[in-house]
Symmetry: C2
Subunit: 572 residues, 2 copies
């Protein structure tokens, strides 16, 4: 079991001058204490415009400051909002890597989609798009960490030409990945992506067991196709906390914060009207807390075991024995980390510091014995499954040498693509992109590790016809750089000509037909199996070229455009 602090930087109204300064400076002091005591992580959200609920809109800055006040505590983004309209994927890769450098490799990279109307409306992110944007951006960002140079991107969500995104993170291949799970079902999603689950839905320890079991079952199954280049099998639950030897005092100090946390969360994630700069969430809380199930008077000290959710949100507000018991129950359920929100609502800095010190003295020592051994055993147990999962992820790409930065072409491609084409048929585009992605991953699995003969058996001329027709359908005129003409593909078997295909590229669409071209602008001569490996992302055309397994005739400069012209992610 690992322990962490969780920060939203809450600041209930009314506001006075200097309060935000105090809030930030106090939080830095708290993190310093947590590091000294032996907390393992500090997490900080990224939220925009959520007045009172979260004044933490630039966590990269706070965590970087915290890195120089601490020695070993890990610095977690809980989370970075991935939609490209909020944070450009390159800016995300840059800030994560830089934080890893100033902290000497202590970053955990939590991710999320953004969920509140304030944020989605504020940045113009379509709710129906955000899951697809997350999936797209995490793929791109993790490639920016490992690809040198990043081979470029072209999706309905963002476009970027090849660039070496620098600096690179200290941790290789990249800091551990997490995803925020505001609904419990997202825990399954986290497992399918091979990343840690940061669970914000308050779940009783006894229910958590089932979610954790399913999480680890998926991690170990074929369903797990890692979103990054490393798997991070971990489940964290987030709870409000306040500690005191006297239970009534703990409640008195902590329950308003815990309740405001829940109330304000519901305010921003529900349908409550919000007038920016005007709505007073704290006043609404005081007026309506009881009606919303956050009744202060219902919470009484009775020295019973803590229940998280029942009888209004109480979380880990109680005595060291009560909280240790709660943690033990989560531990039995297989939860890997409990994260505590102490800075919530009107909770006071000195009470937070006192709670932390008490936690260090009275709780932490009960959970550290044998921890390293248990974690090592877990890692060993999961190692084969993780290795198998990583083999299912499409590998890092290698851009062939010879790409040249070309500002004019790159800018006009960027402006023609991405947003401008999106609003027209967003849903169709997205379904297509998702379909392409699934198809590509399935394809990769069919090809990867097979011999030429095996691949050729599976993809005879009939299958080739389907693949070329698909290529032609995926043609994107905006990526053609103005090219119109014929592309010829001569596929060989055992070095001898076997089949030939021609793709005619026109102004708006492309058409595939069997046979040689009349007047090919570019001819590719390649083994049928190698060609399928290229299409599947299992072989790198640049290496094939250098090995003489791919030959080009005609306009060499067209070659690097082909992938992008036919819906591929990057211009090799």
């Amino acid at each position: 079991m690992r322990f962490s602090l969780f920060y939203e930087h809450q600041l209930p109204r009314p506001w006075a001058d200097g309060q935000e300064l105090r809030l930030y400076q106090d939080a830095l002091e708290q993190v310093e204490i947590a590091d000294r005591i032996g907390f393992d992580y500090v997490w900080e959200v990224e939220h925009h415009f959520l007045e009172e609920y979260s004044h933490s809109s630039a966590p990269e800055v706070f965590l970087a400051a915290a890195s120089q006040r601490t020695k070993r505590i890990r610095l977690g983004h809980g989370i970075v909002q991935l939609p490209p309209a909020i944070n450009h994927p390159a800016r995300i890769a840059e800030r994560i890597a830089t934080l890893d450098l100033v902290s000497n490799g202590r970053v955990d990279f939590g991710t999320g989609e953004a969920s509140s109307s304030a944020e989605l409306g504020g940045f113009g992110v379509r709710r129906t798009d955000k899951r697809a944007q997350w999936q797209d951006a995490i793929d791109a960002v993790t490639r920016m960490f490992v690809e040198e140079p990043f081979a470029g991107w072209s999706s309905p969500h963002f476009r970027m030409p090849p660039r070496n995104v620098i600096p690179k993170p200290v941790q290789k291949p990249h800091p551990p990945l997490w995803v925020a799970c505001s609904r419990r079902e997202t825990i399954h999603f986290a497992a399918r992506n091979g990343i840690g689950a940061l669970s914000f839905s308050f779940v009783e320890p006894e229910d958590a067991g089932r979610w954790v079991d399913e999480y680890y079952r998926i991690i170990a199954s074929d369903e797990c196709v890692p979103a990054g280049f490393a798997v991070n099998p971990n489940v964290t639950v987030v709870l409000p906390m306040m500690l005191h030897e006297d239970e009534a005092t703990a409640i008195d100090r902590g329950i308003d914060g815990a309740h405001f946390f829940g109330f304000a969360l519901a305010h921003y994630y529900g349908t409550t009207p919000h007038d920016p700069g005007r709505t007073d969430v704290w006043r609404e809380f005081e007026e309506r807390r009881a009606a919303r199930g956050f009744d202060r008077d219902q919470i009484i000290a009775n020295a019973e075991a803590l229940n998280v959710n029942v009888g209004s949100l109480r979380g880990a507000v109680g005595t060291p024995d009560q909280v240790a018991d709660l943690i033990r129950r989560y531990e039995s359920a297989g939860v890997d980390q409990v994260s505590f929100v102490l800075q919530a609502g009107p909770n006071r800095h000195e009470h937070i510091c006192e709670s932390l010190e008490l936690f260090g003295k009275a709780i932490l020592p009960r959970f550290t014995e044998g921890r390293e051994e248990r974690e090592a055993a877990k890692a060993e147990r999961l190692a084969p499954a993780i290795e198998a999962a990583l083999a299912r992820r499409r590998p890092a790409r290698t851009l062939p040498p010879g790409y040249r930065i070309d500002e004019d072409a790159e800018v006009s491609r960027a402006l023609r693509g991405s947003r401008s084409s999106r609003p027209r048929r967003p849903l169709r585009d997205e379904v297509r992109a998702a379909g392409r992605k699934r198809a590509a991953q399935g394809f990769y699995r069919l090809v990867h590790g097979r011999s030429d003969a095996q691949i050729e058996r599976r993809f005879g001329p009939g299958a080739q016809r389907v693949l070329f027709a698909g290529m032609a359908r995926a043609y994107d005129p905006s990526a053609s750089g103005g090219f119109r003409g014929e592309l010829e593909f001569r596929l060989t078997r055992d070095g001898r000509p076997a089949t030939a295909w021609t793709v005619e590229v026109g102004d708006r669409r492309a058409r595939a037909k069997p046979g040689r071209a009349d007047d090919a602008a570019l001819t590719l001569i390649v083994g049928a199996a190698d060609f399928l490996r290229i299409l599947a992302g299992d072989a790198n055309p640049a290496s094939l070229l250098m090995d003489g397994r791919l030959k080009l005739r005609g306009d060499f400069e067209l070659a690097p455009r082909l992938s992008e012209m036919f819906g591929g992610p990057s211009p090799y």
Copy 2:
């Protein structure tokens, strides 16, 4: 005279594992020394993808880390790239404010447009757009600092609905503003915007005087219309530096760094081809430095006065006496700050630290005496001009209460607007927007501080006809929320009806005509002078409503949409 360090985080090839970590950790140590010694600022660039030349892509992170290693040194962004495709304006306001909070008010906010092909092509920013994007974004970002809530934005460059952008900076109204001047002419531009000039073009002290004089002449003139809500009258020059009591040793330690700095700058800002991840800038430097004017052998120790530019870039590489003499000459020219690049090319950490210590002992004390008094005198001298300049800036807006976050409407407005509409007629849009802006600022000056009678004299029915026709032309159907119908404006004089105008809103365009409406959906009754004040941004419709000076009849909900419907920046 103030002194600063300047960081690009340069890392010439070949690269070894752990070098970026060392680079960042060393830089933090150097900044700590600079703070102890009495340097006034540390500046850090924001550059993307400029391998070897600058591994500083997330300065908000490095500066935040530096904030906790230092006590009084100011933390300068030199600069933040303002085009919205690189950094969303809200994300900029958030990170600047957060850095101001963790550093207890020590941020200087330098800004720029981005200039290299690697960056413009990488993020898809049109070179012809970037100046307009800078002007647009700095206006929006400074409003985010002071408006509560930010009243929203709608320009060809980005759109955002009203939101309270939090947190707010510690420094009021906001941290001092600067702009990067890569060409000397930009110094005039800085002055016209009332902000500090960070000059990167290496200029001899004797030439600097002319630029500084013109800068301060413009600051004190009508030409100065501040980009922010405070004026920052300062000129900084940037120079490479290395210090040693023995001149030959200083040259030996510092000249390769100074020269690589100049060479790599020319590489990325010129037309040299660059293959991302492949081009070896350091090798090209070694092969071509002499041919490009960076001949190591030409630089000899001869104990003469330093010239910055003549006989290849040497900057402030020399003995304490030489460098102090150079600084004195800049001081005589009226330059306010000299910023030194020590971490350049292959320069070594220990030599940098030694130079800093020597600077603190042998140079700094010569420039501190009487400095506060001189600065106070300068501030007093400029105060009336600054006050006059600030009166020319369009003031902060007040969003009337009653705006409601509406995710669906906001998202579809964002996706319909901004990028999707831009590629069609970018230049025309931009010229129009710039024209509107100039017109609006001129208009504001004509109205601000005048009596009703003065305004009415100037804007009779003829001028009103022009203004209403302009409003109708500026109509943006995407902001109408589906409204079609008549808007009636009854303008009064001394409380009595004087003139009436009707704007007919159709599917695609609006038309203005004199006289009352047949069937007005909304009627505004307001003094002619007050109406002109609203149009000029000199009066707030919400306050006029509350004071009874503006009356509405009909569909009240239409009123907050009017400004945006007719091309205004925000939906009051």
